[in-house]
Symmetry: C2
Subunit: 573 residues, 2 copies
Amino acid sequence: MKLRIAFGQINAFVGNFQHNFLKIKDCILKAKERSCDLVVFPELAITGYPPEDLLHKEGFIRENMSYVKKIVSLCDNIICLVGFVRSETSRGMRGKEKDQLYNSAALIHKKRIIDIYNKIHLPNYGVFDEKRYFAPGHIIPVYDLGGIFFGISICEDIWAEDTPLFEQSKNGSIINININASPYYKEKAKDRLKRMKEIALKTGTVICYLNMVGGQDEVVYDGHSLIVDNKGQLVRTGKQFEEDLFFFDLEAKGKKLNRKSKVHLVKIKGFQPKEKKDFKKYSAQKTPFYELPQEIYTALTLGTRDYVDKNNFKKVVIGLSGGIDSALTTLIAVDALGKKNVTALFMPSRFTSQESRQDAETLARNLGIKLHTLPIDDICSSYLRSLEQIFRDLPPDITEENIQARIRGNILMAFSNKFKALVLATGNKSEMSTGYTTLYGDLAGGFAVIKDVPKTLVYQLVHYRNKQSKTELVPARIIHKAPTAELKKDQKDSDTLPPYPLLDKILFLYIEKYLTLPEIMKKGFQRDMVKKVIGMVDRSEYKRRQSPPGIKISKVALGKDRRMPITNGFAPG
Amino acid sequence: MKLRIAFGQINAFVGNFQHNFLKIKDCILKAKERSCDLVVFPELAITGYPPEDLLHKEGFIRENMSYVKKIVSLCDNIICLVGFVRSETSRGMRGKEKDQLYNSAALIHKKRIIDIYNKIHLPNYGVFDEKRYFAPGHIIPVYDLGGIFFGISICEDIWAEDTPLFEQSKNGSIINININASPYYKEKAKDRLKRMKEIALKTGTVICYLNMVGGQDEVVYDGHSLIVDNKGQLVRTGKQFEEDLFFFDLEAKGKKLNRKSKVHLVKIKGFQPKEKKDFKKYSAQKTPFYELPQEIYTALTLGTRDYVDKNNFKKVVIGLSGGIDSALTTLIAVDALGKKNVTALFMPSRFTSQESRQDAETLARNLGIKLHTLPIDDICSSYLRSLEQIFRDLPPDITEENIQARIRGNILMAFSNKFKALVLATGNKSEMSTGYTTLYGDLAGGFAVIKDVPKTLVYQLVHYRNKQSKTELVPARIIHKAPTAELKKDQKDSDTLPPYPLLDKILFLYIEKYLTLPEIMKKGFQRDMVKKVIGMVDRSEYKRRQSPPGIKISKVALGKDRRMPITNGFAPG
């Protein structure tokens, strides 16, 4: 049987049903034009992912159902698989009625829902909270498409040790479709490909892995859907970090079956494969995998663009210090939103060097963005005069440094309020982790673009972007000068923090590997240094709790991924 | 058999094993002195609750085990039940080893762990994330204490429809001990008592409900442990919002059994009830339930004290505006920490009325706290001069209001930095919900005491405290004047918000009942007003995400309880 399947790798918008519906509709129409037999959409394509506590609203669930119906009415002569939220009223053991939600996929044909699959394996780790909302499904379906059998599953289902794909393939499925809303972290694409190949080989079936694309608060879906054939070969990919509607042609032969009773067999009645021109045209198109710095850079760009767009902003404003973090943030903003939508504020104090000023100006010129200069010394003096009576003769300390940072935060927010520009915060993961940042100061902003990017990676990303542009977009001096917050005379980051290459290694072990002081020491780090670093991390939990959301690019980002108590007496070793 | 049971209603500290151990040890020693046969501690008493992602650290789990061993060594001639985290290595279906954690209770006797119970029902809603960490237990134990049988269970287990207590009582248990870390919300004590009576009557057993006490970030455990006899009568309570070690004497008779095989029966070997003086002395002591305003006020006081103490602060600083929110916050702070540890800053601008100044001064005098006055107009002018070139002739708007609020935030933080005083934010739930608050301005602070208190309840709490003190602690004018932010001329909250009694009703339906616009209208509210309010709530999600933690006193607080996306296109009706 000659089958053509369309994959709608769409950028869904949480809660914006009309937005999602129009994208789905557009894909269905195009799939019909190309004589597709089946069109597939991502996990929770109708609601966007994750809807979080919107799922507690009955009105939200109803709206989601009304859009399923709209999609049903579009699917006359095409089979459609689409993710949605199912609500089911069941009776508990004492006869009490209760509503259960399922993370489900509707299989639609001839303007009817012919079956609903409920996700079996619900992730409840990292950024995921699915057990907060959904009950697990228990039924493993196989669909009979005129003698050709296929299986469907949702996201985590394919990663579970006892994945339903084993049961499906034992029961005759030769194509297994897995729909996803799978958040990006670096090199996840490789993990996915490895798993899909493994499952394809173990089951001897074609694996169609469809992912969502786009940014949603802290996460970015990277698209990059994969089709792996029954020999474990990657044969087709969706675009990486972009929407895509792609097609796949498959000559399918039915298997001889020794059917077991474990699966739920559904016959798709009245199905006739369509006549196709150019059969096999769509069977082997692959986009190359991005290499690492580019992959991360592209994730950050997409995440920033979508956060700004979906929250109804057009413009952003960034505090440019002349340092490398604000330079990278600005680069990403310009790539995401266009130079006309990015404004930079340079806010020098008496501690700001001439070099910083020149570097900020050069960078703004190179990027073609508007730069305003607003000195903060007068404002700072007015604070100190006001506080004089209370502070008396106490020596200057971190207080006076923070006042400066918070003046800059206030100016950025004032610009934001006046011109409806979102403030992008510029802090990196090394700073955010150690608390080497001022709450309400440089931490101020609606979105923290490089929150999950360690300082050492900041350099790599700037190098990559400079190299890619074939010009020195970011001036060499910004890259080569010693990092400084310029909040007091001759200040250097290295006065407070270990050298960044060392710091980032300790932070990786502490944050991403969950090691404790004695365990990190065993990896060859000095006790005093480790103790100091993890003390800084633990004591600054309260700052991170109040920091803006930022884009997850690592396995353990500083946000929903990492839920540490602020009040925390744990200090071993 | 004459049994005496001790209940250690302790204030555990998350991660501070030594702190928790010393409390447990103290209770064990006192229980031995009083000839107790059994001593019981709350859920996760060893680690504190909730340890959150500290549970991802193997070093944390090991430390927890080493403290279990210390407790074991104390329990020679007393049986001890204590909550801890169990780690078990099991083999998955493909032979892979994996570590599973359980929320468990160790039953200790004669310096040995004689059994471990794993919590069966894991809450994963509201503020709870137990399925993120723990695997569920499956074994229902009954313990044979020389012919007297008892059962144990943990927290949620007693609330589940298929609670293990049914199985335990069917299998002979006459006493069922349920250990908890149950967060407070208003009137929860009544729900608990109702459930305990229900279970006591259904099972015909004595229910011993032991709760933790104390504040941990957003939650407060209210203690108030309950013992309900087998006739459904409340016979004994632990103190409300205070640590307590209390005792219960019980004359127990064994039941004739028709044992089924479903339970796991454990014989406690070599047990001999101790000789007791004054038997029955401890069988009926009850503390009265607090009435509502006092109950909430006490929860706020305990939550504030514990947040400050456990985070190693001694002092707090509060911005006093002359309004009722900062008045209530200051009252609570003084009750929690003592007047010498509370400093107030009054930061007037040209929009501040003479009345506000007088009221702030009177309040500070009534409470006996230090008040500093720091005018902000000069600082404000310096901002406006600096921004003049950019703002040009644009008319004043919310920008200029926010600048003032953020100056105050910066001054408070400067005071905090210089004097190591925690800033208490003063925003109430009505403001936090609608976003009628300035991010980094009045939202600034380490802890937001009344974050979950709607404005209408703010008044009730102030009335209660005034009445209780039998003086006008909070001057009548603070209570009676129209609420105003005083950020522009003749500003009133009512210019922007519906009247608070109306607003709070809409917010309750929207936030705590998860209703949508059309559903709220059906309750008799005007479309335009509801639309405006819920629009404000939805658009200010980003502010709440960056707000300080505050104390949960309602069923749905603004924190871990309510997890809404910032990027959210849902707007029905």
